[in-house]
């Protein structure tokens, strides 16, 4: 079935004219019709527009055009936090009303320039705040491996859509693990690039010093392809970094002989599930078999990462979300004066988790508390970053579980925000340190059968080496080939 193909498989078939882009797009639409009632990965999608893009790609393909357009005719679905011109943008919130994007995000421009069929609005936790996609104003997304369980979050729709073969690949965003954690829980590849690698122009901001866009794919090669298309400096995002963009796909040679992988001793915590631990241990053995050297390392400030994150992320969010005030766009609830209008609009438009974080973020920035909380957290952030930079003097990458457990049941943690926050323990430091990370499938729990993710963390702008290491493991193991039985 065409919807099950990877980007490299599909583009090869398209180039040989064995299949058409319309057939591939239609296969994705058929799969959405068949399974999305159960999964609800998509908030919406415009089938006619997607097929029109496919027809345009087919026309170009039949004219022999495949010049530099490496994604020509490939259906890629988009998290509802990225602006796609003339498509709805809601961030899974009520507050944006009937918002239609007036422009394309830089990553969308780049995907379109590479020939991709950009379609669909994928479900997420409201404003990317959450770890389960339960905080959406548009309903729950379900895990394709077990629909009583959550797909992870905040990019739950992006992970579920790839795992359920409703698209060939998708985009998400990662502020504290929102790509890697759902990728792990749904059994696909999820890459969070280094802060500054990809332009954030057209990504609705949650925490500006932590947010980064990245791909969800069916294998590491596809992640390398999409990273290459999306990377690079952008004058419209002053935090994008003018580093050269290497050929990430060419670096995937399967050779990890002599590379050093670090195992942080602080990550073997009490809450780590036995089956997850066993799968990660087996992955480490696999790396040894492939010729890598395993080194124990220490990241001594690991225990402070969650607290640091929830100060910095909520502080930045409280400032970023001030723009949703009912004046220039989105929904509005009227008031007698502007302040009443803002308050009522925001009270009616934001969901519970977003309100919780706005209040916490406003509090830690407020007069008298700023130094005690926000400045203290920024200083601890320096310590966390230094832990990683020191570790990377000794090792090429760091190996950890992506999550402490496999996917949990819907409703299991939604009543206890702190427990939900603590489930991000392994992914959060990567954003604070500004490094890159990827989750790849590394096994399954037994009963029920649920995916387990292996997280690899790499040096700042070290994606080339990170993906090479991830790819070598993936190609030596069968996990990424397994499909959810939908």
């Amino acid at each position: 079935m065409l919807n099950q193909l990877t980007i490299s498989e599909l583009t090869a078939k398209l180039a040989r004219r064995e299949v058409s882009a319309r057939e591939a797009m239609q296969a994705c639409l058929d799969q959405i019709a068949r399974v999305d009632g159960k999964i609800h990965a998509f908030i919406s999608h415009d089938a006619d527009d997607a097929l029109a893009q496919a027809d345009a790609a087919d026309k170009e393909l039949s004219n022999g055009g495949r010049t530099a357009r490496c994604l020509l005719g490939v259906p890629i679905a988009i998290k509802d936090v990225l602006a796609v011109k003339n498509q709805p943008l809601n961030c899974a919130s009520k507050i944006l009303g009937n918002y239609i994007s007036p422009y394309d995000a830089t990553v969308i421009e780049k995907l379109k320039a590479a020939g991709a069929i950009v379609f669909g609005r994928l479900n997420m936790d409201e404003f990317a705040m959450g770890s389960s996609t339960e905080n959406s104003a548009f309903g729950l997304t379900r895990n394709p491996w077990d629909i009583t369980r959550i797909p992870g979050g905040s990019s739950g729709g992006s992970a579920a859509a790839v795992a359920a073969d409703e698209c060939i690949a998708s985009l998400g965003s990662d502020t504290g693990g929102s790509i890697r954690q759902p990728a792990a829980l749904c059994g696909c590849v999820g890459l969070k690039p280094t802060y500054g690698r990809i332009s954030r122009y057209g990504l609705v901001a949650f925490a500006s010093s932590l947010d980064q866009i990245g791909p969800f794919t069916k294998d590491v090669r596809d992640a390398a392809t999409l990273l290459g298309v999306m990377s690079g400096v952008d004058p419209r995002d002053s935090t994008s970094v003018p580093q050269p963009v290497p050929n990430y796909v060419a670096a995937l040679d399967g050779n990890v002989k002599g590379l050093k992988l670090g195992l942080p001793k602080e990550y073997m915590i009490g809450g780590l599930d036995a089956e997850v631990k066993a799968a990660v241990d087996a992955a480490v053995k696999q790396y040894e078999k492939l010729g890598a050297e395993i080194v124990e390392i220490s990241l001594p400030h690991t225990d402070y990462a969650v607290a640091t994150y929830y100060i910095i992320a909520t502080a930045e969010a409280s400032a970023n979300l001030a723009r949703f005030d009912g004046i220039r766009y989105g929904a509005r609830v009227d008031g007698n004066d502007p302040i009443e209008l803002y308050s009522k609009t925001r009270g009616a438009g934001f969901g519970a988790e977003v309100k919780r974080r706005i209040i916490l973020g406003t509090y830690v920035l407020s007069s008298g508390y700023h130094d005690a909380y926000y400045l203290q957290a920024q200083k601890v952030r320096t310590l966390i970053r230094n832990d990683f930079l020191k570790a990377f003097e000794k090792v090429d990458a760091i190996v950890t579980p992506t999550t402490p457990t496999a996917a949990f049941k819907a409703g299991e943690k939604s009543g206890d925000p702190l427990q939900m926050y603590l489930s991000d323990i392994f992914t959060i430091s990567c954003n604070l340190a500004g490094i890159c990370g990827v989750s790849v499938p590394c096994g399954f729990t037994q009963s029920p059968k649920l995916p387990i993710g292996l997280q690899l963390l790499g040096k700042p702008f070290g994606e080339e080496s990170l993906l090479k290491i991830a790819h070598a493991y993936e190609q030596a193991t069968p996990w990424h080939l397994e499909k959810a039985g939908l």
């Binding site: 935090t239 004046i327 220039r328 919780r356 209040i359 916490l360 957290a377 320096t382």
Partner: protein, 95 residues
């Protein structure tokens, strides 16, 4: 260690966020436990440590001060909840 009691009503006003009495109550309790957890950061001695605002140290990224293409008036107003004569309509601010 005892943690600060958040005055939710006051902070909600700062954030321009209308809350129901039930929301105020549940947020107060939840934020109390989250702040209790966050207190652990005070265990660390950070004297002499510089704060990190951004992981990538870049400063003063500027561009030439030139007119560039931007959204048209019509596009900029397209998502407005209320508009007239090419302007956003808001409640009366001054008498």
């Amino acid at each position: 260690m005892a943690f600060a009691e958040i005055d939710v009503k006051y902070v909600a006003h700062l954030a321009r966020l209308a809350l129901t009495p039930e929301e105020e109550k549940s947020l107060g309790a939840q934020l109390g436990s989250i702040l209790g957890y966050i207190e652990k950061l005070r265990e660390l001695d950070v004297s002499g440590v510089e704060p990190t605002a951004h992981a990538v140290p870049m400063v003063n990224v500027t561009r030439a001060d030139e007119i560039r293409p931007s959204l048209s008036h019509e596009e900029a107003l397209r998502n407005a909840p209320r508009q007239a004569n090419g302007l956003f309509i808001v409640p009366k601010i001054v008498e």
